[in-house]
């Protein structure tokens, strides 16, 4: 029987801090080609980013009242921005009055105003944003990335999804299930209580648990030896290891009691606890603070979620509420990443499944619908151009007309930033190669990077 996995565990089980330190110092823990494990791998291309924090704004944020300023032009009133915009920073980036805190980081934001997608159906577009496919369950972006790069910290999952919804959004689908996202807080579960289920128990001392695991894995190895070629059984063995290591590391990271009151206040942890229209109490501050802590600990892909930006009616009230709930936490996250020198190697991505048509100011309407033909994403960190606007929509914000970026291009750009060749990162399944960017492939938006 082989002990390699167990001996590796023994090296790392007491070495979590060491590994995280190594990761922070920019040293890959282990370099090898994708081997179906979570070991960190050296990317094939020069990498600007080591990790991604995806600020997922579900429901379709109104781009024209957040980052895509559309003042009235000409004589005839037309759809456009109904909130005030100001110019911020040295770059003079236009940002809505609803986002004063985020606006402090204007010179770090790289705004993509020419986003477009294929459908205005929430579930489909949300799935496409996450997996590249809008109809079928496919591996999620975070799964592709951990498949390509592994993760820096072998004591934690490589891919976390906070305040998440359906499992199809964080599923590894046909990729080995070790690349599945780990949910923390599902279906509106209170984030203050949200944890990784069953992550601790005190019924046995650590030494006994470890011995117990040794015994189980020994049995499992014998079992799979008699059943060669069974990927499932191999995956269980891997996930038993990961689960074991998680119970050593995750509880401390989820516990915010070591954070100062000032920090909790900056992130607005526990605030915005009332539902306002479509804006749900997501404790987005806690999510952002946890995202920072897990990013520091070397998690490769972290998704945090706030919603719903789907304000059909009461556009003004609900959009204000959504912005209030997310503005300060996002700004605090950017502050902290910068302060810790992590922003240079962390790609922060903000956006949702589509945008919304504008309202014509003065016509008293307060309703919007869905618009997938033109909307906004922004990125920060990892060498993207700050205070820069890429692409644009027409004067009513209805569709992207310049610098168009499709989800598959966004995916390609993110993979490329991590040093993964976007259209070559493939996995053989059901008789053909699959890739995140789909049969059409994605185009890296090189203009976004300095």
């Amino acid at each position: 029987m082989t002990h390699s996995r167990r001996s590796m565990l023994q090296t790392v089980s007491c070495g979590f801090g060491y590994l995280a330190l190594q990761a922070l110092c920019g040293q890959p823990v282990q370099a090898e080609s994708s081997d179906g494990s979570l070991s960190a791998r050296i990317p094939q291309l020069p990498a600007r980013a080591k990790r991604v924090i995806f600020l997922c704004m579900s429901g379709g944020p109104a781009h024209m009242d957040t980052f895509d300023y559309k003042p009235q032009t000409g004589d005839k009133p037309h759809p456009g921005s109904v909130f005030e915009f100001k110019q911020y920073g040295e770059s003079g980036l236009h940002i809505s009055e609803l986002l004063p805190e985020t606006a402090r980081h204007a010179d770090d934001l790289c705004v993509i105003n020419g986003m477009h997608a294929d459908t205005t159906i929430h579930a489909q577009s949300f799935l496409q944003l996450h997996t590249g496919d809008r109809l079928r369950e496919r591996p999620s972006l975070g799964s592709w990335i951990t498949y390509g790069l592994g993760t820096e910290n072998q004591n934690l999952p490589g891919f976390l999804s906070f305040n998440t919804s359906k499992s199809s959004v964080y599923s590894s689908s046909f990729l080995p299930s070790i690349y599945n996202g780990t949910p923390i807080g599902v279906n509106g579960e209170s984030m203050a209580q949200a944890t990784i289920s069953n992550v601790t128990s005190s019924h046995l001392p650590y030494s006994s648990k470890e011995k117990q695991l040794d015994f189980v894995q020994r049995m499992n190895h014998q079992h799979v030896l008699q059943r060669p070629g069974d990927q499932q059984l191999e995956s269980v063995i891997e996930s038993m290891e990961l689960g074991f290591r998680m119970q050593m590391s995750a509880p401390d990271l989820l516990d915010l009691s070591s954070e100062t009151k000032a920090t909790l206040e900056r992130y607005r942890v526990g605030q915005n606890s009332e539902q306002i229209g479509t804006c749900k109490p997501s404790d987005f501050g806690r999510q952002c603070l946890l995202a920072r802590r897990f990013a520091e600990a070397g998690v490769r892909f972290i998704e945090v979620n706030h919603g719903s930006w789907d304000q059909h009616k009461n556009h003004r009230r609900d959009l204000t509420a959504n912005c209030n709930a997310t503005d300060a936490p996002v700004a605090a996250l950017l502050d902290d990443l910068k302060l810790r020198g992590m922003l240079d190697e962390t790609l922060v991505v903000w956006g949702g499944e589509f945008g919304r048509p504008g309202i014509t100011p003065g016509d008293k309407k307060d309703e919007t619908g869905h618009n997938s033909r033109g909307f906004t994403f922004w990125m920060a960190g990892a060498g993207v151009k700050g205070g820069y606007v890429h692409g644009k929509t027409d004067e009513t914000g209805a569709r992207a007309v310049e610098g168009k970026v499709h989800f598959r291009d966004l995916h390609a750009t993110i993979l490329n930033a991590l040093g993964l060749p976007p259209n070559e990162l493939k996995y053989w399944h059901a008789g053909r190669d699959h890739r995140l960017t789909g049969p059409e492939g994605g185009k890296v938006v090189t203009e976004l990077f300095a």
Binding site: N187, G188, N198, Q212, L242
Partner: protein
């Protein structure tokens, strides 16, 4: 009226054709087709501009143009941004608009063919989709290995294996087979004595021993528990509404009666067609027996279990409830998604919007009774419930006081709980019944219940019309659900029997013949063995829609009894096991794992669970904290609250139960390992088993043997015994606690893949 639109393309003058091709068609293609053609994601205003006929038949606002009258033509008005504004982004140049004016003035000559014209109303929707073609009794294929097959299933399977140049693997050993049969038929592990008895019986009597075992298991009341659970997944059965979108989650205190009904139906082997009729129209079925009457009423709970979005501010609430009913009937019973047609004609499958509203009329003509909805009207208005005549009246315990109370939002004081209309303890059931005045439903344009189109006569799917059936016409005074039930269960219905035999097959093989059990549409997977699927569907109907009979036939096939071991050549050649030249290894489901752990710890109570822990509680689950209670009954009797699943099951990919789930996700995540390490249930059961061991075996060696036998149904090898004793000794040293040292060992064996996977 005489009109140019009747002119055939070849009768147009060459100038007309040139004008259309150079001035009109390119503009339509570039600026209009995105929203107004057969390929549109969402058809704008129901208007298609991609054929001559659809231009004239028009959309929801009427014909797109009037010959010779540009000023009266909608298309010209829209291009001029007069009322309607098209294209929406910006008006087209004046010159192009003038071309269109000119074109309409010339009576809009249009050479395009009309093949793609929409289906005329009331007619059959034609489709070449495989699943809508009649079920055919295919000839059983010849095979080379004539001695191999045990029945016709084997011949269908073997002929494909042979055609691919492979051979089936060995038969499974009797030890593996009995374990597989136990789990597949009753969801429990066999006891060691049962294994030994069977193995010796098999050695002397071969397949006779197998068929006796199968008959015994089919007759066990645990069969209904296990197969009922499969159906409850399809029926999106749950004991609460689930998050209404505003975080409120009211209980369904009477839903458990439907659960018991389902379990009983599988145990009685109620013919599947009758089972469906009861669930769709039980309230309309004739019966003289009050017991049967109650049973039929409970069955209609199937249609009342919807996960409803909140009523507050939601004009579409009633239609949301209907949407769920159409979905559970569409995907659950027929494997076809009708839901998309709520807003637009289905893009891929032959389901026009008219069909959706034809079916919607059946349900808008029915009253859906979910009960009091946690006494929170913003979530859902309270409804009546079926009052049962023969069920026992059960009072809450004497000391019961409801602790989950809603507060008045302005004063913060507890809201008084309204007094229900029924005496406390009255036996009630969720369900449906006909409205006093049934009526057809109007098309909701783009799914918006405030924008009504024409009324559609109540009916079914036009793509599966069953012409010869006589009892399918819906009379004005009935909802039409009874006719729906007759139509769905008609022997010529192409989907119902195929979908069910496929579900059964999937539960026995791990994968269905169609691997997307809820989607037999264009984007579902095609069947791996289409002829076999038809063969089974016909066998199923011929055997009186008996679920037990078809299961029996399948598990007695040689195909089912194959080993799951595979050599590398076959593995490489058929990675996904589409040929079924071997059996699929499968993991225990959440329920099977919990039940198995209880079975080996000696704690499992095989009697049916009584009612539900929430049977007296009309409350909001989200206000209640943890409602779950430990139980020793089989998992199906736990409380399946949406968004608050039983913690003993949640780690193993439990579905959300908000929609039809024909196939559970079986992905492996570290959360499952954490469950095995740290969940209190696992720890407690391991301790229970350790206590049993203390009492039944004296020496450590005997105890290790016994633990292996109880959990893995075999004795340990010498190596394993040594490692076990080491583990026990180590834990003893670390904890100074003998019980812990043994329970930690028991827990270890419960964690192993050998225990958690079925070969």
């Amino acid at each position: 009226m005489w009109s140019f639109s009747t002119l055939k393309a070849e009768e147009l003058s060459p100038e007309d054709v040139t004008f259309f091709e150079s001035k009109i068609r390119p503009v339509l293609v570039k600026h209009c087709y995105e929203c107004h053609s057969a390929d549109s994601e969402e058809l704008g205003g129901g208007l298609r501009l991609d054929t001559r006929d659809t231009v004239m038949s028009g959309g929801l606002s009427g014909p797109a143009l009037v010959h010779g009258k540009p000023d009266e033509s909608l298309i010209i008005q829209a291009l001029r941004y007069d009322g309607t504004e098209m294209p929406p982004e910006e008006p087209l140049p004046e010159a192009i608009i003038n071309d269109f004016v000119n074109w309409v003035s010339r009576n809009a000559p249009d050479p395009r063919k009309s093949q793609e014209a929409p289906i005329p109303k009331q007619e059959k929707t034609e489709s070449d989709l495989w699943s809508l073609q009649p079920i055919i009794d295919h000839k059983v294929p010849d095979v080379k290995l004539v001695d191999w097959p045990r029945n016709d299933i084997d011949r269908f399977i073997l002929s494909r294996i042979e055609a691919a140049g492979f051979s089936p693997v060995e038969d499974a050993s009797p030890r593996f087979l009995i374990r597989r049969l136990y789990y597949d038929l009753v969801g429990l592990p066999p006891k060691l004595e049962q294994i030994e008895e069977y193995v010796s019986d098999f050695e002397s009597r071969g397949q006779l021993a197998v068929s006796d075992l199968v008959d015994e298991l089919l007759a066990s009341p645990q069969f209904g528990v296990h197969w009922g659970r499969h159906w409850l997944d399809v029926a999106r059965y749950a004991e609460s509404n689930g998050n209404d979108g505003l975080s409120r989650n009211p209980t369904f205190p009477h839903a458990w009666r439907y659960r018991d009904y389902v379990i009983e139906s599988f145990n009685q082997d109620t013919p599947y067609n009758q089972f469906l009729k009861e669930q769709l129209a039980g309230d309309l079925l004739p019966t003289d027996s009050p017991e049967l009457r109650d049973r039929y009423l409970i069955a209609t709970g199937f249609l009342a279990l919807s996960a409803k979005p909140a009523k507050a501010m939601n004009n579409d609430f009633d239609m949301d409830v209907v949407a769920d009913q159409i979905d559970v009937v569409g995907r659950g019973l027929m494997g076809i998604s009708v839901a998309c047609a709520r807003c637009h004609d289905h893009k891929f499958d032959p389901i026009p919007t008219r069909d959706y509203y034809a079916m919607a009329g059946l349900f808008t003509s029915s009253e859906t009774m979910w009960g009091l909805a946690g006494n929170e009207k913003l979530t859902a208005p309270p409804t009546d419930l079926h009052v049962l005549q023969t069920a026992a009246k059960v009072l809450p315990p004497e000391d019961f006081v409801e602790t989950v109370i809603l507060l008045e939002s302005d004063t913060g004081k507890p809201k008084a709980i309204p007094k229900p209309k029924w005496e406390i303890g009255t036996p009630l059931a969720m369900g449906v019944r006909d409205k006093k005045e049934p009526a057809d439903c109007k098309i909701n344009i783009n799914g918006d219940s405030k924008k009504l189109g024409e009324s559609v006569p109540r009916g079914f799917l036009s793509a599966c019309q069953i012409d010869e059936a006589e009892n399918l016409s819906i009379e004005a005074e009935n909802s039409g659900r009874l006719q729906l039930a007759e139509w769905i269960t008609h022997e010529n219905h192409p989907l119902t029997s195929r979908v069910m035999v496929n579900r059964i097959w999937q539960h026995l093989f791990g994968e269905g013949i169609v691997r997307t059990p809820d989607d037999f549409g264009k984007y579902g997977e095609p069947p791996t063995h289409p002829q076999l699927l038809d063969h089974m569907a016909i066998r199923f109907q011929k055997n009186g829609w008996s679920v037990k009979q078809i299961i029996r036939e399948i598990v007695l096939s040689r195909t089912y009894q194959l080993s799951s071991s595979v050599d590398s050549q076959l593995l490489k050649g058929d990675e996904e096991n589409k040929l079924l030249a071997r059996h699929n290894r499968s993991r225990l489901t959440a329920e099977e794992l919990r039940d198995s752990i209880l079975a080996i710890s000696g704690q499992l109570d095989l009697t049916p669970g009584d009612g539900s822990i929430i049977r007296h509680r009309d409350i909001l689950v989200n206000k209640a904290g943890n409602l779950h209670q430990p139980s020793r009954h089989r998992s199906v009797y736990l409380c399946y609250l949406r968004n608050s699943p039983p913690p003993e099951l949640a780690a193993f990919n439990l579905p959300e139960f908000t929609t039809v789930t024909g196939k559970r996700d079986d992905s492996i995540v570290p959360g499952q390992a954490l469950y095995l390490y740290n969940n209190l249930f696992v720890i407690e059961q391991a301790e229970q088993l350790a206590k049993v061991l203390q009492d039944s075996a004296k020496t450590s060696e005997d105890r290790v043997n016994l633990t292996f036998q109880k959990i893995l149904s075999r004795s340990p090898t010498a190596d394993e015994k040594k490692a076990s004793l080491e583990l026990i000794e180590f834990t003893q040293t670390e904890t100074q606690n003998e019980l812990k040292s043994w329970s930690s060992f028991c827990q270890s064996l419960m964690m192993t893949n050998e225990f958690r996977y079925i070969d």
